[in-house]
């Protein structure tokens, strides 16, 4: 895993690059800084803490994905916290716009206040790609703990082969081989679920 500096103040560029590398400290800091603000907003607007958590984590994942796609800070300049906050806010407003709240005056007022500019997430996923994603997630769930954690170490935590070998108490060649086998297994499971669905 790449190491960023251990001080608390980070520039926007550092936050972004940390996010791109799935850096633990950057994710930690970003979550702890922005979640309370989102929670306050959602509380003020008829939400519960459970809803705040779900909305925020969805917003976080969306921010993270957009960062990887290079979509952050295209227009106004880079501010990761503000971006994340806005995404979360808009997701909540989307929720409020749903059938349960559609007819309230308050909802309309909130929508007027919303900043639905380019920060709003582009949810153009087709039903087919959504289906594929569901199949993938299901396949991963059924993969088994050993493969899941191994692949997580490689692909999310981005630890080096040697680090992983030490952590799992196996040889480096074995770690490499197991990674390949786990991905093969995952591929097979995904294919099965896709084909079964179709």
């Amino acid at each position: 895993m790449t190491k960023t500096k251990h001080y608390h103040h980070r520039t926007q560029e550092e936050i972004l690059s940390g996010l791109l590398l799935n850096n633990d400290l950057v994710i930690n800091q970003l979550y702890r800084e922005v979640f309370p603000k989102v929670q306050r907003y959602i509380f003020k607007n008829n939400g519960t803490s459970e809803q705040a958590k779900d909305i925020f984590q969805e917003a976080f994942a969306a921010t993270w994905k957009n960062a990887k796609k290079g979509k952050l800070g295209e227009a106004k300049g880079l501010n990761v916290e503000a971006y994340l906050y806005t995404i979360a806010k808009n997701k909540w407003l989307d929720h409020l716009r749903s059938s349960a709240y559609k007819k309230t005056v308050r909802t309309i007022k909130l929508i007027d206040q919303a900043n639905l500019s380019e920060e709003s997430e582009n949810e153009t996923e087709t039903s087919e790609s959504q289906f594929e994603m569901e199949a993938m997630r299901a396949a991963l769930k059924s993969l088994g703990e050993n493969c899941k954690s191994l692949l997580n170490l490689f692909y999310f935590e981005r630890k080096s082969m040697d680090e992983i070998a030490i952590e799992l108490n196996i040889g480096a060649a074995s770690a490499r081989n197991q990674k390949y086998r786990c991905m093969e297994k995952l591929r097979g499971l995904a294919l099965e679920l896709k084909n079964n669905g179709k």
């Binding site: 930690n28 993938m136 692909y155 999310f156 981005r158 490499r176 390949y180 991905m183 591929r187």
Partner: protein
């Protein structure tokens, strides 16, 4: 080489991994992109791999966010880490406090004694005794003991004077110098007995000295009220001076 998009070799997977995780130098990135554009099968294999890769990565993120959220909630409810640390140290802090208090108490205790003792040693000096003019056979034993006393042979003096005291138990001179020898030896309690007998008559020439020494003895023993009482009864300047030193 197998161009079936369903099959990916280990080498090919690692190529895809390096590209996706930005572990490729720029030149290699560009050539790889070119190859993808030119090779449809490669593109398919890559895209398929990318989906799997993204799935694993996103699942990793969501798990991380979930455990992070739980950690934050835990910190809010019960500051476990803080509490454990302070609980752990709490016992040691208490123990340390007890030790310190005992030490201070002991120190105070000893100092408390020595405050009176300090004053005692500042103000005490043995009575110089009576002039020993030998020749008077009536009181030979008495003055022989006095010589011992002046030499600091207090045990000898006490022994001899005690013998004389048996015959004259209320003799204030005997009682006074016996007590003086006792206090010189550090036997305050015995001295107190003797000095008390001296003042019993209220007419002794040694009255003021006896009161003074009584006061000093009680001061050394730490009995401040009695010390002050007796010091007040003595008209010696030294006694008055000492009395002024004592707290109210």
């Amino acid at each position: 080489m197998e161009n079936n998009p369903k099959y990916i070799s280990e080498e090919q997977q690692e190529l895809f991994e390096r590209f996706l995780m930005h572990e490729m130098p720029v030149a290699e990135q560009l050539s790889f992109k070119t190859r993808l554009a030119e090779d449809e099968n490669l593109q398919k294999s890559f895209n398929e791999f990318k989906v799997l890769f993204d799935t694993v990565e996103e699942a990793g993120l969501r798990e991380k966010l979930e455990s992070l959220h739980n950690a934050i909630e835990q910190e809010k409810k019960t500051p476990v880490i803080g509490l454990n640390a302070s609980k752990f140290r709490f016992i040691y802090r208490i123990a340390a406090s007890v030790v310190i208090l005992l030490a201070i108490g002991g120190f105070w205790y000893f100092n408390r004694q020595s405050a009176g003792e300090k004053l005692f040693y500042n103000y005490y000096s043995p009575d110089p005794g009576l002039p020993t003019v030998m020749g008077n056979s009536d009181n030979y034993d008495f003055y022989e003991a006095m010589v011992d006393y002046k030499h600091g042979d207090y045990d000898k003096a006490i022994e001899k004077w005690n013998k004389l005291l048996a015959a004259k138990p209320h003799n204030d001179t005997l009682n006074y110098f016996l007590a003086s020898a006792q206090i010189a030896k550090g036997n305050e309690n015995s001295a107190l007995n003797g000095f008390t007998k001296v003042i019993a008559s209220r007419k002794s020439v040694f009255q003021n000295e006896a009161y003074f020494y009584l006061g000093l003895s009680y001061l050394k023993k730490g009995e401040l009220p009695k010390a002050k009482e007796y010091l007040a009864l003595s008209n010696l300047d030294l006694s008055k001076e000492l009395l002024n030193q004592l707290p109210d």
